[in-house]
Amino acid sequence: MDCMIGKKRVVIVLLVVLMAEVSLGQTGADSTEVFPEKVKYRGAVEELAALPGKLVYMPFFVALYTTRQVAEAIWEKRALDRVKGWLTTADGRAGVRPLSNTSIGSGVRFFHKQFVFGADANLTSTLGKGSGRQQHLFSLGWKKGEVRGGDFFAVAHFRREPKESFHGIGNNSGIADKTSFAQEDLYVKFSYGRRLGSQLNIDTELDYHAIDIGVGKSREAPPTQSVYAPGQLPGLGETVRFIKAATVVRSQIVDVPGSPTRGNRSYARLRYDRALGEAFSHFNILVTSEQFTELFYRRTLALRLGSEWSFAPGNDVVPFYGLASLGGEEILRGYQRGRFRDRGSVFAALTYKFPLWKVVDGTLFYEGGRTLRAPGDFTLSRWHGTFGGSLRAWRAQGLVFEQVIARSSAATRLLFNFKTVF
């Protein structure tokens, strides 16, 4: 009897299995009640063989998943627009924007259009890495030719740099001569600019500028004051107030301002600094010109030449911080800011720019320069050099982000510049 029941059970189980096979479409028959299972494109053995690869892929998947979500938020959910919206008043007149770069640190810019008497107001505050590095700038601007056909700006600026470096004066100053000082600048500037033609601008500036030189906070170098006596280094240890007057001429004749392939950008500034109650009056002239030449298919060679001179009339002297200098974020980027100082400097930069994507370029550059005591000292020898490259993202109107690596005999420096994209 038990045997009979057992056989029946086996038959029933077999029937159930057979029916299940049929209903699941394993035999190939379709049914309107039950749908076939998803058809696998490979068998269990291959799935097993794929497992190690999947395990290796997992961390990449997680990282890329995050990237994808961020991109989706920015692109589809318009996160940047929304952030911009949240950082701006509903009427779009006032708001706050982040900004960051190597030279000024990170901070925010507050703006208020039509703030007072039709002027747009901007307040930029940045704090740098390290002790007490900060910069605050407030400006009122009447733009778009509102003032007698020109633009008028009133600017108040405070800057504190506690770790400025001074390596001595002259082209041969050594790295071992490095000393440290702190510099505080406070100035109020008024500028009026007019557009002469479509690509030429001329600005006239008038400043009141107070400069205070203090003891540097660097642990790597002794204070400049402990190495140099005030008599040896004009401008050291004193607060000096200047009245400055300058004329600036700028021209930009390029095809795409964000990533030029043809054209020229030039800048010339003549400034007179008159110290109040001190014999530090001097002239400063800065001239740069950059020519862009398309080699082939948006591969572009840019040659930049420039020179800066500071000279004092009569018996006056030029304070050390008013001297022409090389190093920093503009030229000879492989050296610290103010690495070489003297009355004059000459510099040249050759940049090769090539497209990586629609709005991303790569660059390779070589920069050379030297300081001079007098124009007659000019030679092509003993130039200091920096080479490097960068990745830069741009929009038609200008640069958005740039990451630079620059190498000199002194150091390899990583510099970045992020301008608000909105």
């Binding site: 379709d30 076939p36 058809v39 794929a50 509903a90 990586l356």
Partner: protein
């Protein structure tokens, strides 16, 4: 030991038993499903990054896939029948590839009416102001709903003509596409529907896009933008709403889990893989998922899969002519960018050198100088295209080359170009590219197909020879007949792919007849055709391509 390993690998990869007839079953996908699938709203940014980086990495690390590529046995399409063909489904209907459509059928394409009713008013129910090209949704006098698209003022006829032509060709190929009509719109037909809404970009970025009631002034503003000359009539493309409920785009990978009919991963569907060949022909590079759409039919309770929006294909890039880059590189092409980075820009891609020559603004940039059939690239990586095998390519190339010059000219004529020379140029572009596709792919696969039994013979057609992509007199066919036990029953070399069937072979359970075409510079693998007898008559039961 080495040979044992190789044999194991081959068995693992399913390369055994070539003399057994194929026993494939393709599931129907038109059975009523229990519930409407949920809508999909994929993110383009997410998809681009995923398909450009994550998916590529995943594929590289997929050991079995790489092993298969190494031994030349990639994963083949899953939804093919015993004759390596795609059965009709909610994805694809065999049309010109199976039977040449008449010129009238080509001209009509997917259109089932004369277009929107032009005798009455068009109620504007929605207006799109965001974006560069204005558009609107209207309901005509008969209650039919259309999306109305305008041409950019600087490139009259460009996107509308392209979309009209391509919808006819995609339909003739076999894909589901919307009905598109060219209409000379009289602005006086338009009137805002009382419940009409308008999507607008707002100044308040916290809500970048908002919706508000549509006013007559909005309509006028939009018309002024679309018709700056104030012409009495404006040419528009009216795209009829697809039947059913839209449930979002289909994906190029995986399946729609809540559609039980969707059982084949899309990257392994022949018609989705083979779409590469069709798209390369029509330069339909804008292959983002948003340009596909699934529609749920609540009455039949099933999902139909469509291709939509062809305004950025062939020589058009929606509001302007296409460029040499389109079809040559992905929009964000990691490989090209990396090549430029490591060569410091010294490597210049061909598309960078090419002159963006536009002979006729109404048809845009149409040049074949850079076109290489196997190197064509959509704007975004498409996983299904990356799984393309020679068999998929043959399937696609066979369809592309099935179009005659007359059919192509007829399709192009539906673009209603005012310049006859522009239409002629467009048609010539398509014919030329069709031939490039034929010449390239037919040189790499066994081009025998369309086997039939007639007059006691098994006859195949050499598609390459028949369509003029290979020289017939220079071709010989090596034919071998084998029994299920692999014994050679007969072997011969013929001028034609025809075999006299010996009655003595009827004793076999089945026979496998392999055909190998031989011509100078042409090396392919055989096609094996399987025959059985039923009621003492020979029946072809399947076909196996060994390429």
């Amino acid at each position: 030991m080495k040979s044992v390993c190789l044999l194991s690998l081959l068995l693992l990869l399913g390369c055994g038993a070539p003399l057994l007839p194929p026993a494939r079953h393709v599931h129907r996908d038109d059975r009523p499903i229990p519930a409407k699938p949920r809508g999909r709203h994929p993110s383009l940014a997410n998809a681009i990054i995923d398909k450009t980086t994550a998916y590529q990495l995943e594929q590289i690390l997929d050991i079995p896939r790489q092993a298969r590529k190494l031994v030349g046995r990639p994963y083949e399409a899953l939804n093919v029948d015993n004759f390596d063909q795609v059965p009709n489904s909610t994805w694809f209907v065999n049309r010109n590839g199976l039977r040449p459509l008449s010129l009238e059928e080509i001209r009509r394409g997917p259109n089932r009416s004369a277009g929107p009713d032009t005798t009455g008013k068009w109620r504007v129910v929605a207006l799109k102001s965001a974006g560069v090209t204005p558009g609107m949704t209207i309901v005509d006098g008969r209650g039919a709903r259309y999306i109305v698209k305008f041409d950019p003022p600087d490139f009259a006829e460009l996107p509308s003509g392209t979309e009209a032509v391509l919808s006819k060709l995609f339909y003739a190929v076999g894909y589901n596409v919307p009905e598109n009509y060219l209409v000379d719109l009289d602005p006086n037909w338009l009137e805002p529907d009382p419940d009409a809404v308008m999507r607008v970009a707002t100044n308040d970025k916290r809500k970048p896009i908002s919706q508000r009631p549509l006013s007559a002034a909005d309509l006028e503003t939009m018309l002024a933008k679309a018709n700056p000359q104030g012409a009495g009539r404006v040419r528009v493309l009216a795209s009829r709403f697809l039947p059913g409920i839209p449930i979002g785009p289909w994906s190029y990978t995986g399946v729609r889990r809540d559609d039980p009919n969707d059982v084949y991963s899309h990257q392994h569907r022949r018609e989705v893989r083979g779409l590469y060949i069709i798209s390369s022909w029509l330069n339909h590079a804008d292959m983002k998922e948003e340009n596909t759409l699934d529609m749920y039919d609540p009455e039949r309770r099933l999902v139909t899969h469509y291709l939509i929006d062809f305004g950025s294909a062939a020589g058009s890039n929606a509001i302007q002519p296409s460029s040499p880059r389109r079809g040559q590189a992905n929009s964000f092409d990691l490989k090209d960018s990396f090549t430029r980075l490591v060569t410091a820009g010294l490597y210049v891609h061909d598309y960078e050198r090419a002159e963006p020559l536009v002979r006729y603004p109404s048809v845009g940039y149409l040049e074949n100088d850079l076109f290489k059939p196997h190197k064509w690239k959509p704007m975004y990586p498409v996983p299904a295209f990356e799984n393309l095998t020679l068999r998929d390519a043959f399937w696609g190339a066979q369809i592309v080359t099935s179009f005659t010059d007359a059919q192509i000219e007829t399709a192009v004529a539906t673009g209603e170009y005012s310049a006859a020379a522009a239409a002629e140029y467009f048609a010539r572009f398509l014919c030329q590219r069709r031939d490039m596709i034929g010449r390239y792919w037919f040189a790499r696969v066994n081009t025998l197909d369309q086997f039939e039994i007639a007059g006691g013979q098994l006859r195949g057609v050499d598609v390459a020879v028949k369509r003029g992509y290979a020289a017939g007199p220079a071709t010989r066919y090596r034919i071998e007949v084998r029994s299920p036990t692999t014994a050679v029953l007969a072997a011969d070399e013929r001028q034609e792919p025809h075999l006299d069937l010996d009655v003595a072979w009827k004793e076999q359970e089945h026979i496998a007849v392999s055909f190998l075409p031989r011509r100078p510079g042409y090396k392919v693998k055989p096609v094996v055709v399987y025959l059985r007898t039923a009621d003492d008559e020979w029946v072809i039961v399947g076909l196996r391509r060994l390429d």
